[in-house]
Amino acid sequence: MKISYKWLSQYIDIDLSPEELQTRMTFAGLEVEGVEKLGEDLNQYIVAEIKKCKTHPGSDHLSICQVNNGSDTKQVICGAPNCAAGQKVAFAPVGVSISDFKIKKVKLRGEESFGMICSEKELGISDNHDGILVLPDDAPIGEKLGTYLQQDDIAFEVEITPNRPDLLGIFGVARDVAAVLNVPLIIPEISIKETGESIAKHLALQNDASELCTRYTARMIKGVTIKESPAWLKQRLISVGLRPINNIVDITNFVMTEFGHPLHAFDHKLIKDKTIIVRRAKKGEKFPALDEQTYTLEKDDLVIADAVKPIALAGIIGGENSHITKETKDIVIEAANFLYSSIRKTAGRLKISTDSSYRFERDIADETAELVSQRACQLILELAGGKLLEGKLDSYPNPVENRIVGLRPSRVKKLLTITVSDKQIINYLEPLGLKLSRRETDLLKFEIPPYRKDLVREIDLIEEIIRLHGYNSVESFLKPQKIMDKTTFYTSRKIKDILVNNGFSEVINWNFGDPSDLNKLNIPTDDERRNNAELKNPLGSSFSIMHSMLIPQLLKNALFNIHHGQKNLKLFEQTKVFTRHNEKLATEKIHLSALITGNLHPVYWKEDQYPADFYDIKGIVEEILNALDISNPVFKVSSEKFYQPGLAVDVFLKERMVGSFGKIDSKIASKYDIEQPLFILDIKLQDIFELQKSVKPVFHDIPKFPPVLRDLSFVISKKYSYNEILNSIYSINKKLITKIELFDEYIGKNIKDGYRSLTFSLVFSSDTKTLTDDNINNILQKVIEKLKNDFNIEMR
C-alpha cells in the first residue's frame, strides 16, 4: 500500500527525515518495501507566462507564443485552443522528456519552436487533454512546477501484513507510527450538519443477506454539484497513485485511503423504486460494472440492488447503471461491511481486484462504517454543496461488543525478559487505541478497539508491547565464545575425508617415538625434528621421546601388514608431532603423513593390475593442496635424505617448506625389512593452516561458449621438463588456452635416444564468443613456432 509522507504528516508531527521514518516503520512491523520520490517528473517543467500570443500565419489552429520562463523569453508554437497571452502555464523547455518523447528545437510551418506548453495529460496529472493547463495568476514565474503544485512528496510502499486491516488507511498507519514515535495523534475533526427531511422519505433499505452483509449504512445528500476536485484533494489522491475523477468519487476514494474503509456513492435518481436491497445474486444474473464489463453472477455473490437490478457488486465494484455522472444531483453514500471470505471468493472467481475488494477481503471492522460515512458527508457538503438529509439507514443486526483482554505484566517479563513497568505497558498500548478498563494484582485488563480484531489473547498484547519496545532492544545473553577455530577444525576433517575417498585408511599410533628411527631415516643432527621432548620415565627406549615425525610409525604399520599378507596398502596418520628446545612445554603441530605401497587398485578382471608409483602420491598431494586452495605451490627437488635421490619433491608455500613426497629410498626401506616400493607424503598441515586460511569456494560463471579441443603431438629432447613445455604453451595466450592435458608419452621405436614423443590436448575457450577455426589455428600456429624456437621440437 502506498503511504504519502505529506499525508501521513497531517495526523502526526514527524520530526524525522523520510529515511529515518522508513527505518522506524520497518522495525515496528510496517515494512517499507520501496520509496518513491514524487514530483520529480514535474520538476522538469517550469512555471512560465505567455507574454504574447498570435495566430500562426501558416495554420489556423497553431499559435506563436512568446513565453517568459523567468530567465529569458522563448518562442513556442502551441496547438492548444485555449492558449492566450497573460496565462501562467507549465512550460517544457528543450531537452525535457515526456514519457518516451524528447522535446527538441523544431520548425513548424516555417516558425521555430523552443519547447512546449503542456496539457494536464502531458504532465501526467490527469486525463485532461482539451487544452493546456492554465495555472492561477499568482503562480511564480520560473518556479519548478512540482514545487509549485506541492507535488513534492515521498510515497512509501508499505507491506501491510494480513493480520492488520486497521493499517489499510493512512490514519491507521499514523496511529501506529504515533505510538512507535511516542508523539500525539492528530485526529481529524468530523462533524456533519443534517437538515430538512428525513432520509426515510426518499430511500428504503432491506438487508436480505445479513450473513454476508454484517452492516449496511446509507446517508443521502440532495443537490450536490459534480465538478473537479480542488487541488489539495487531487494532490492527495495522486500521491497515493489514485486518479482524480470528480469531487464525489474523489471524496469516497480519499476517505477510503484515509481510514481504510471503502465507500460507494450512488446516483439517487437511478435507484429504481428508491429501495436498496442487499441480497444474494440470482444464478446467471448479469451485472454491468463500472469497468465496462458485464459479469455473470452466482447465488453466493452478494449484490446491492434496487427493486429490479443489481447496482453494485457488494464491496468489489460499482454498477455502470447507478454511478455518479455530471448530471447527478442527489447522491446516496453507502458505508457497509461484508463477510471477507465472500468478497474474496467473488472477486477471485470474477478476477476483479479493486482498492475496495483489497480492503474488504482483509476483514475490516463493522464499526468504522459510521466513521467513514460521516467523514465523506462532511467533505461532500464542503466541496460539492447540497443538503444532508436527516438520519441514516443502518442495518446492523449483530453489533460487536468491545472485547476485554487481560495481560499479566509478569508474563511479559517471563516471555520477553524485558523489564517494563505497568505504566510503560499502558503507555505502549493506549496510543494504539486500547483502554485500560480494570487493574488487579499482576493483571491489566484492556478494552480493545473494534478495528483491532487481531488482538484477542494475552500473547497478542505481548506482541504489541515488544513491537513498540523494539525487538532489537531485547538483550541477548549468549555470546559467541570464539574458542573454537572452525576453519582449522573443518579443514582437518576435510583432508581426512579426501584421503579416505582416495582409498586411504587412517591409523592411530601411540604418540611416543624411538630416537633411533631418526637415525635410520638419515635425519640430520641439526634438523628441527631432532629437538625432541624426551620422557624421564619412558616405557622403554623405543618409546623414549614424543614423536617428531609420523613416517617411522607408518613404515612399521606397513611392515606389520605385509607380514600379515596385506601387500597393497594405503595408510595415513594425521595427528600432532612434538618438538621442544628452549621452551617450558613443547611445540605441538598437526601433521599428516601417508603411505602407498603395492598395487594401486583392487583386482579387476577386465584390467591389468599396476603398482602405485610416484605420480599416484603426487596426485594425492595435489588434491590436498587444491582442497586447501593453494593454487601455486612450488615444487623443488627434495632435500630429505630418506627418499630415493631424484624421485622426491619438497613443497614450498610462501617460501616455506611445508612438506615433501616421493619414493622411500630402498636402502632405508630395507632397514625396516620392507622390500617393496613405498611412496610417502609428509605434510606440515599446521604450517599450511597458519600460512593460508582455507578460502570458501566462490561461484564462477559457467562458460557460455563451448570449448574447442585441438591435439598437438611432437618429439622433444628429454632435457626439457613437462613444466617448461607447459609454461611455454600457456605463454602464447593464457586467456584462451584454458587447459592443457597430456594424454600420451611415447618412448621407443622410431624415437631417437634421449627424446620422447608427447601428445597434448589443448582446450580453447572464451567467455565472450564462440571461437572460430581461424582464431584457433592462429594461436596453434604461434604455439608450434614457439615450441620449435624454445625446444627445437619436431611435429608428428
Binding site: F477, Q481, I483, F504, S505, K570, F578, W605
Partner: protein, 339 residues
Amino acid sequence: MKEEITRVLEAARSEIKKADSMHDLMQLKSRYIGKKSILNGLMQKLGTLSKEERPAFGKILNEAKVQISELLLQRDQEIKNLKYKKTLKKEALDLTMPSRKREIGTLHPITKVWQEIEDIFISMGFEVAEGPDIEDEFHNFDALNTPQDHPARDLSDTFYIEDDVLLRTQTSTVQVRVMENHKPPIKIISQGSCYRNENDASHSPMFHQVEALVVDEGVTFADLRDIMNIFVKKMFGEKIESRFRPHFFPFTEPSAEMDIICVKCLGRGCNLCKGSGWLELGGAGMVDPNVFSMLGIDSEKYTGYAFGLGIDRIAMLKYKIPDMRLLFENDIRFLKQFK
C-alpha cells in the same frame, strides 16, 4: 500398361523383402518411386492414353506408388527391429561377474567416535577447544584441586618430561586453559590424547578422552544429568539409560561416576558387564568452587559442570571391539571394517 505396373509391383515387393540395410532401402526407393523411377516413367506415358483411359490408369499407378511406399516403410521397421535385436544379443553380459570396485578408505574407529561426539555436542551449542598434550603440573594437577602429595602425582602413574612438565593424564587440563582465557558463559568440549604410565591388557599408555565444561549463571546438576542422558541416547541408542553413582574427583563436588545400561545385554547381565547389567562410562560432577576461585571466577555468581569420558572405551562398546590392543595395532583387516 496395367501388366507392366503389376510386374513392377511384384519386382519391388520381392526386392524390398530382400533388402537388409537402410542403404538398400534408399536405393530401392529411388529406383521405384523416385523422380527417375520406373513408375514415374509410366506416369509420363499417361499423356499418350485416351481421355477415358487416363483416370483409371492414373489411379492404378498412384495405388502402386502408395503400396511400394508402404512396403518400404514396413521393411524399414523390420530392419530397425533386427538391428535392435542384434545389439541386444551383442551386449548381453554375465551379470554375476565381479564389478569394478573403487577402493574407499576408512577413518580409524576412534576418529569415527571422536567425530560423532563432536557433532553431537556441536549440535547442542558446544564449541570445541584444544590444549597441549605436554602440560605443566599446574594445569594437570594444581588447578584441578589435586594436592601436592596426592598419589596421582606419583612418577609411576604419570610420564614426566621434567619435574613440572608432564604428559597430561586427562583432558581436564583444557578446562583450566579455557577458564583462564575466557569469561563465562563457557560451553566447550575438548578431546585428545592422554597418557598414563601403565601398559597391560586393559590399559594403554596413550588413550583418548573427551571432556566437557559448562559454566554459566544458573547451571545445575539437572543440566548435567540431561546432557549426559541426551548424549548417551544419541551415541548408543534410545534404549540406553544412564545413572550416576557418588564418587570422588578432586575438581568436582558433588562428583559422580556415570554408568550406562550394558549395550550388549541391555541390562540382563552378560560377560561384558560382568553380570551387573551396567557399564561404567566416565566421571562427572559440578565444578568445585575451589577450582573457580583458583581461576578467578566468582563461584557465587557462576556454577558449572564437567565430565570426562573415555573415547576408546566408547568405540569398543559401540563397535563391540573385544580387545583394546586392536585399536593401536593398525591391522588393515581391522581398520577396513569401519566403513
